[in-house]
C-alpha cells in the first residue's frame, strides 16, 4: 500500500449527500478480475450521458476544478461493499476524500487502499465548499501526522480523527495482512481453545 504522510492540493467539490457506491462505480463495471482502470468509469453515469458524451455540468468535466482532494456531501460511500469504489477514486488520482460522514465499509476500504477518508464537522465542510467556490485555485493541506486539514492562506484549520492503528498503517504504507500473519500462533491457540469450549 502507498504511504500517506502529507498532501497539499486544490480540491474538487461534489455537493451531493448520500453518494452511494453504485454512483461511484456502477455494477456493470465490476466484471473484471483485476484492480486496474476503474478511474475511467468513476461516477460514470453522472459524468457521461447514455451516448457516452461528457456531461459538461458535472464537476469532473469542469476544468475549473482539479486536484487530489475530493470534497463531498454527508454520508459518502453508502451502499454496496464493493472495494472497486475505492479503487476507482485512487485510480482517478484522488488521495483524500473529505466529508462530514462516511459509511463504515467504504471508510475501511479506503483506508486499506491508502485513500484517506477525512471526516470534518458539517460546518467545516461548508467552509471548504465556500473556499473552493470563492477561488477554485485554493489549496488545502492535509497532514496525517498532526491530523489536521488547513485551508491554505486563510488560517482556518480543523483537526480530524483517525483510528491510531490505521494511522500507523497509512503513515508507513503497511496493510493488515502482514500484521495478521504475524499473529498466526495466537490465532491457532484461539482455534484450539474455542473447539474445546463450545465444541465447534
Amino acid at each position: 500500500m502507498e504511504k500517506f504522510v502529507k498532501l497539499t492540493s486544490t480540491a474538487v467539490p461534489l455537493k451531493v449527500e448520500n453518494v452511494d457506491t453504485d454512483q461511484i462505480i456502477p455494477a456493470r463495471f465490476l466484471k473484471v478480475t483485476n484492480k486496474i482502470g476503474f478511474g475511467e468509469n468513476l461516477f460514470r453515469d453522472w459524468r457521461y450521458n447514455p451516448n457516452n458524451e461528457p456531461v459538461a455540468s458535472f464537476v469532473l468535466n469542469d476544468d475549473t476544478y482539479s486536484g487530489q482532494i475530493l470534497v463531498v456531501g454527508d454520508n459518502f460511500g453508502c451502499g454496496s461493499s464493493r472495494e472497486h469504489a475505492a479503487w476507482a477514486l485512487t485510480d482517478y488520482g484522488f488521495k483524500v476524500v473529505v466529508s462530514s460522514y462516511f459509511a463504515d465499509i467504504f471508510k475501511g476500504n479506503a483506508l486499506n487502499n491508502g485513500l484517506l477518508p477525512l471526516q470534518v464537522s458539517p460546518e467545516f465542510l461548508q467552509k471548504l465548499f465556500n473556499a473552493i467556490d470563492e477561488n477554485p485555485n485554493t489549496t488545502f493541506t492535509v497532514d496525517l501526522e498532526s491530523q489536521t486539514i488547513s485551508i491554505d492562506g486563510s488560517g482556518q484549520q480543523s483537526e480530524f480523527d483517525i483510528d491510531p492503528f490505521k494511522k500507523v498503517c497509512m503513515l508507513n504504507g503497511y496493510d493488515d495482512i502482514d500484521f495478521l500473519i504475524s499473529k498466526k500462533d495466537a490465532i491457532e491457540t484461539f482455534e484450539k481453545q474455542r473447539q474445546t469450549e463450545i465444541n465447534f
Binding site: S81, I177, K183
Partner: protein
C-alpha cells in the same frame, strides 16, 4: 452490567486486543462469490501467502450469472471469465463451490441459511454488504471489502474496532398486509440511511419474535441500508426448528448441545445499549419508496414528503415525482420479485397468495427470480410455478439478477420498476431506471393492477 447478544458473540471471538487499538476478531465462516473475490486471490498469490482455512470458506456464483439457460456457456465474455476465475480459484485452493448447475447454487445469503451453514453465535463475513442477512440467526455477520477478503483468506481474522450497540424495538400487532419488508422500510424511513453507521443493531420486541426466519432475514438484510454494519435477532425456538435437519446443521446429540449453548446468547435483561429506538407495530403500514435511497420511503397511500435539501430535490427530479404527490395510480411497467432481501419461499408464497386466479396487467413485465435452486424446487413442489405462469409472470433461474443489473436483467432507462430488492439508488437496476422498493405482496398486487394501488383497500 449484563451483556448484549452482540457482546457475547463478539467477545467470544476476540483472539487478541491490540492495546489502545482494535480487536483481532476470529471469523468462523467466510462466504465468497465471483465479483469481490478474484482480486483477493490474486493479492495472496502475488505475495505467496497460503489460505489458512479453506474448509471454512464456501463459494457460490450469484451476482453475475444469467437467469436464463444456465446450462449453456455464458454469452457475455467478461461474466464468463469472472465465473471461470472463481471456479479455478476454488479448485486450486480446495474451496467448496456451488457453481451454476449445482443443486445448492443460489444467492449467497439465501443459500447459506437454507443449508444450515448459518448458525447462532457464529461470526460470518462475505464481500457483500447484505451479509447482515445472517444476523437473523443471532450471528455476527457483516459485509467486507476485497482487502478484508484477502485478510480472512490469510488469517481467518479481521482487525476491527468493536462497533457500538443499537437496539430497535417494535412491539404491538401488525395490521393485515404489513410484512417484514414494510417493517424494515418503515424503520429506515424514520431513522435515515446513516443512523446506524458505527453500530451493530439488535431488533427486539414481539414483532420480531413472532416473525418467521425468512421474515427475520428480510429485516436483518436491510440493516446496512440504515448504515449499520449488521443486524441481529436473538435465537429462539423458531431459529432452532428452522436449522434442525438442514444439510450442514449438527445432528442428534451435537444439535442438542448446540441448542443449550445458543440459549445462552440472547441479551441479558440488564444489558445497556448505546442507542435505542421504539416503534409501535400499529403505526406501520404497507410501504413504498419514492426517492433514490432506501430511507426515502412512505406509506403506500401517503404523499411524497415535503423535502428541503438539494440532495432530496435531486432525488425527486430523478424519479419524476413532486413533493406532496400521491403515488396511487402511477403506471408501472416492470415488477421484480427477487434478491437476497425477498427471494425465499415465504416471499413467493406471499406473492402467489395474491396472484392466484388473477392475471398480470398487460403493460407489466413481471419477473420472478428465486433465490436458490432449493427455492426453485420448493416453488415447483408447492404448485406455485403454475400460479405464476398462469398469471403471466416469468420465472427465471436463481441469481442476484435485476437487483443490481450486472447480468442482462436490466430495467430500461426511464422506466419505473417496483422491486422487492434493497436499493433504489439511481441506475441501480440499469442506467436511467427508477426503482420503487416494496414487499412481495405489494409488488404482486401492482403487477396485477399495472399501477400503484392502495393495497390496504385490496385486502378483504
Amino acid at each position: 452490567m449484563g451483556k448484549t447478544l452482540f457482546d457475547k458473540v463478539w467477545d467470544s471471538h476476540v483472539v487478541e486486543s491490540i492495546p489502545n487499538g482494535p480487536d483481532i476478531l476470529y471469523i468462523d465462516k467466510h462466504l465468497i462469490h465471483e465479483v469481490t473475490s478474484p482480486q483477493a486471490f490474486a493479492e495472496l498469490e502475488t505475495r505467496n501467502i497460503p489460505l489458512l482455512r479453506p474448509e471454512q470458506i464456501l463459494a457460490t456464483a450469484d451476482h453475475n450469472v444469467p437467469t436464463v439457460n444456465q446450462h449453456l456457456p455464458i454469452k457475455d465474455l467478461l461474466s464468463r471469465q469472472q465465473l471461470q476465475q472463481l471456479t479455478e480459484n476454488c479448485k486450486k485452493h480446495n474451496i467448496t463451490l456451488y457453481d451454476l448447475g449445482h443443486k445448492y447454487q443460489g444467492i449467497v445469503h439465501v443459500m447459506a441459511p437454507e443449508l444450515g451453514v448459518t448458525q447462532p453465535g457464529m461470526t460470518m463475513v462475505c464481500g457483500d454488504s447484505h451479509t447482515s442477512t445472517h444476523g437473523a440467526f443471532g450471528t455476527i455477520a457483516f459485509g467486507i471489502g476485497t482487502s478484508q477478503v484477502a485478510q480472512v483468506f490469510a488469517s481467518q481474522c479481521l482487525i476491527l474496532n468493536k462497533p457500538k450497540s443499537l437496539r430497535v424495538n417494535v412491539n404491538g400487532k401488525l395490521a393485515k398486509g404489513v410484512t417484514p419488508k414494510d417493517v424494515i422500510l418503515y424503520i429506515i424511513s424514520h431513522l435515515g440511511t446513516n443512523s446506524g453507521t458505527g453500530y451493530f443493531c439488535e431488533y427486539a420486541g414481539n414483532v420480531f419474535r413472532e416473525m418467521s426466519m425468512e421474515g427475520r432475514m428480510t429485516v436483518c438484510n436491510m440493516s446496512i441500508e440504515m448504515g449499520a454494519r449488521g443486524g441481529m435477532i436473538a435465537p429462539d425456538e423458531t431459529t432452532f426448528s428452522y436449522i434442525k435437519d438442514r444439510e450442514f446443521a449438527p445432528k442428534g446429540e451435537a444439535f442438542e448441545k448446540k441448542i443449550a449453548y445458543w440459549k445462552t446468547l440472547p441479551s441479558d435483561a440488564d444489558a445497556v445499549f448505546d442507542q435505542e429506538y421504539h416503534f409501535n407495530a400499529e403505526d406501520i403500514a404497507p410501504m413504498i419508496t419514492y426517492g433514490t435511497n432506501p430511507g426515502m420511503g412512505m406509506k403506500i397511500n401517503g404523499t411524497v414528503p415535503l423535502n428541503k435539501g438539494e440532495s432530496d430535490k435531486k432525488a425527486l427530479a430523478y424519479m419524476g415525482f413532486e413533493e406532496g404527490q400521491s403515488l396511487i395510480g402511477q403506471p408501472i411497467n416492470y415488477v421484480f420479485i427477487g434478491s437476497c432481501t425477498n427471494s425465499r419461499i415465504e416471499d413467493f408464497r406471499m406473492a402467489a397468495s395474491y396472484i392466484k386466479g388473477k392475471q398480470k396487467a398487460p403493460n407489466v413485465n413481471a419477473l420472478i427470480v428465486p433465490g436458490s435452486q432449493q427455492v426453485v424446487k420448493q416453488i415447483e413442489q408447492e404448485g406455485l410455478r403454475e400460479v405464476f405462469e398462469m398469471a403471466g409472470f416469468e420465472i427465471r433461474q436463481p441469481g442476484c439478477s435485476a437487483c443490481l443489473a450486472m447480468n442482462d436483467d436490466k430495467i430500461p432507462s426511464g422506466e419505473y420498476c417496483v422491486s422487492t430488492s434493497n436499493r433504489n439508488f439511481e441506475g441501480r437496476q440499469g442506467q436511467g431506471s427508477k426503482t420503487l422498493l416494496s414487499s412481495p405482496l405489494v409488488a404482486a398486487a401492482i403487477a396485477v393492477e399495472g399501477k400503484i394501488i392502495d393495497i390496504t383497500k385490496f385486502l378483504n
